[in-house]
């Protein structure tokens, strides 16, 4: 009876109530999407590299080393010499290593020199490895393998020929030594998608006629001659390392960090990620805080609307009282109303959230490489909803008490 009454009362004020519900839903959706983005960004970040025990590069902060070697963000402070790399490879703790060399680019995409072992050793999202979608891995010196994103955005196919530019933002191209696309990788959702991969020897080859960052004028070694040359790299940017036993990781890390011949840094990728996240976490919390404030604001808004509707509804309440409703029933009715509004808002916000996520997911993935996982609501969300309903009841208490006073004072006769 009370339920039905409250519902019809709400229905009678469809427009006002509808707007309230819309405002609350949008703010709830804002909160939930911030939360979803936050967790998705975290997982897609931490899932980027797995099963690599150490990343070794020139002396740098661990976050910087992680960013340039794995995420291709920023630049290396220095390279490490091939001799030091060989020293590292010969350590007994080491199970496998994959050298990588960065520094050149193609149309804004980073070019990475590495060896074939990269494709079997680099793991992401637990134990998934990079696999070839079309074509094959590099066989020839001038073969290049493209990440899925590069191929898609530039419209390249197997056999397309391309020229690598020197450096990251430069106008000098290695146009004397064009490459040919030999393979395109499957989409991984990691920075590999946006990487152009060549062999280490190729990186060395395109720099044959270069000295200290510039082309030596007039010098052009014929390609046939380059193919005959010893193309062992002189230096690399970083190396991914796997150890035989986890118990020896820190021993190896210390050896690398204290390596006397060259200043190097070894990091545990997960540990560095966590360190980075502690910094990012501050901004995260800020975002979350803002959306909580937005929810609070809409709750206050709901109370305001209820207040303003009270004076319009004094006649309505007088009729309720005339029908035999006690002042407490009036309070109950208003609180029921608040519960209705919040439940409707929650339902609507969830619908809204899924619409927005489905709409934006491809765009976020394409532009930021973050795969927002659209899944059913978690228990945590239920807690939030419960808290929200309780809060809305608490907020509705104020107008309800006012209505109670009105109904006692006015009784059945209203002096408007």
């Amino acid at each position: 009876m009370l339920l039905k009454l409250s519902f019809s009362s709400l229905y009678a004020r469809l427009v006002t109530v509808g707007m309230t519900i819309l405002a609350i839903s949008v703010s709830l959706m804002l909160y939930m999407s911030v939360e979803k983005l936050r967790t998705s960004a975290y997982t897609s970040f931490t899932d980027t590299i797995s099963q690599t025990d150490l990343i070794v590069g020139a002396r740098a902060s661990s976050v910087q080393l992680l960013l340039y070697s794995v995420f291709r963000i920023g630049n290396a402070t220095n390279n490490i010499t091939w001799e030091s790399y060989l020293d590292l490879v010969s350590k007994e703790e080491v199970d496998w290593t994959v050298p990588i060399s960065l520094g050149d680019s193609h149309k804004g995409f980073r070019v990475m020199g590495t060896n074939k072992e990269f494709f079997s050793r680099y793991k992401y999202r637990g134990s998934q490895s990079v696999s070839i979608d079309k074509g094959y891995l590099f066989e020839d010196l001038y073969d290049v393998v493209l990440g899925a994103g590069v191929a898609e955005k530039l419209g390249y196919k197997i056999g397309t020929s391309l020229v690598v530019s020197h450096g990251l933002q430069s106008f000098s191209d290695h146009d004397d030594q064009p490459f040919r696309v030999s393979g395109i990788l499957k989409k991984t959702g990691t920075p590999v998608d946006n990487t152009v991969i060549v062999s280490l020897a190729a990186i060395e080859a395109i720099h044959v006629d270069w000295s200290t960052g510039a082309k030596i004028p007039g010098q052009l070694t014929p390609i046939d001659e380059i193919r005959e040359m010893d193309l062992t790299p002189k230096n690399i940017t970083a190396a991914l390392v796997g150890v035989k036993s986890k118990l020896t990781i820190f021993q190896l890390q210390r050896w690398i960090n204290e390596y006397p011949e060259e200043a190097m840094t070894a990091i545990l990728p997960g540990a560095a990620l966590q360190e980075l996240w502690r910094v990012v976490g501050v901004i995260e919390n800020l975002l979350l805080g803002i959306s909580v404030v937005v929810i609070f604001t809409t709750l206050v808004g709901m109370a305001a609307i209820m207040f303003s509707s009270l004076s319009e509804r004094r006649r309505e309440m007088a009729i309720w009282r005339a029908m035999g409703a006690s002042p407490f029933t009036v309070i109950g009715l208003l609180m029921l109303e608040a519960i209705f509004i919040s439940i409707l808002s929650i339902t609507f916000s969830v619908v809204l959230l899924f619409c927005v996520l489905n709409l934006l997911q491809p765009w976020i993935d394409y532009n930021y490489g973050i795969l927002v996982n659209i899944e059913m609501l978690a228990i945590k969300d239920m807690y939030v909803f419960a808290v929200f309903i309780i809060a809305s009841i608490a907020v509705s208490l104020l107008p309800a008490i006012r209505a109670y006073w009105f109904s006692i004072n006015d009784g059945m006769t209203i002096k408007l």
Binding site: L247, P260, A271
Partner: protein
């Protein structure tokens, strides 16, 4: 005249080369920040603490006076009993297999600190860490003061090195566990055992992956749920 310039150029080049051949690197060292490495594999868990002396005994020079030696020995005894430092859930059924506690009085750093002037000359060097470290030394007036009281007027080179040596407590514990998956948290009475202690920077690795923590006295534990 010209020749002389060439000679001196050549000479200076030679000198630079000979200097450059030495490797000068100093490990980072930060008061109030202890390091802890935890590695888990199979049934084994290894914990390795590296704590600056200041965090444990309040000074970092080589203990010479009786009182200082007593402080160091007392600290080492506390490290011997690992329950003073950390605790592992008993459900995991872990038994200590090996413990190795030592204090690194920094003898191996001596050489690096011998060439004081050299550091100052080579400001252009990239070894920023080194310089940072250096600045830190200067900040520690209180140590020098203490030192003054101890051995008045005896300020020969040697003492200075000890002062710079920055001793470090190194404790390594290996456990074998019956049920290693039960380790969901490790807490650190360390912070109450050594009131001078600052934070602990923890690196953690297991077959699942690696992560890191920053632990401080107000929340003296790490949460390892789902990480082993």
């Amino acid at each position: 005249m010209r020749k002389n310039i060439y000679y001196s150029l050549l000479l200076s080049a030679l000198v630079t080369v000979s200097v450059a051949e030495e490797t000068r690197q100093v490990d980072k060292h930060e008061h109030g920040v202890g390091e802890l490495n935890i590695a888990v594999e199979g049934n084994s868990i290894d914990l390795e603490f590296m704590i600056p002396g200041a965090d444990i005994v309040g000074f970092e020079y080589k203990a010479k006076s009786e009182a200082d030696v007593a402080l160091v020995n007392d600290a080492l005894i506390k490290f011997d009993e690992f329950n003073n430092i950390f605790s592992i859930p008993s459900a995991s059924n872990c038994n200590l297999v090996e413990a190795d506690i030592s204090i690194n009085q920094g003898e191996n750093h001596k050489d690096e600190h011998d060439d004081h002037d050299e550091h100052d000359d080579h400001n252009e060097h990239d070894d920023h860490d080194e310089h940072d470290d250096h600045d830190e030394h200067d900040d520690h007036d209180e140590h020098e003061d203490e030192h003054d009281h101890d051995d008045h007027g005896e300020h020969d080179d040697h003492d200075e090195h000890d002062e710079e040596a920055h001793n470090e407590f190194v404790a390594h514990y290996s456990f074998n566990c019956g049920n290693i998956k039960e380790i969901d948290r490790i807490s650190f009475p360390y912070f109450t055992t050594f009131p001078n202690s600052g934070e602990l920077e923890v690196q953690f690795v297991s077959e699942i992956g690696s992560t890191s923590f920053e632990v401080e006295g107000d929340e003296p534990f790490i949460d390892l749920k789902g990480k082993i």
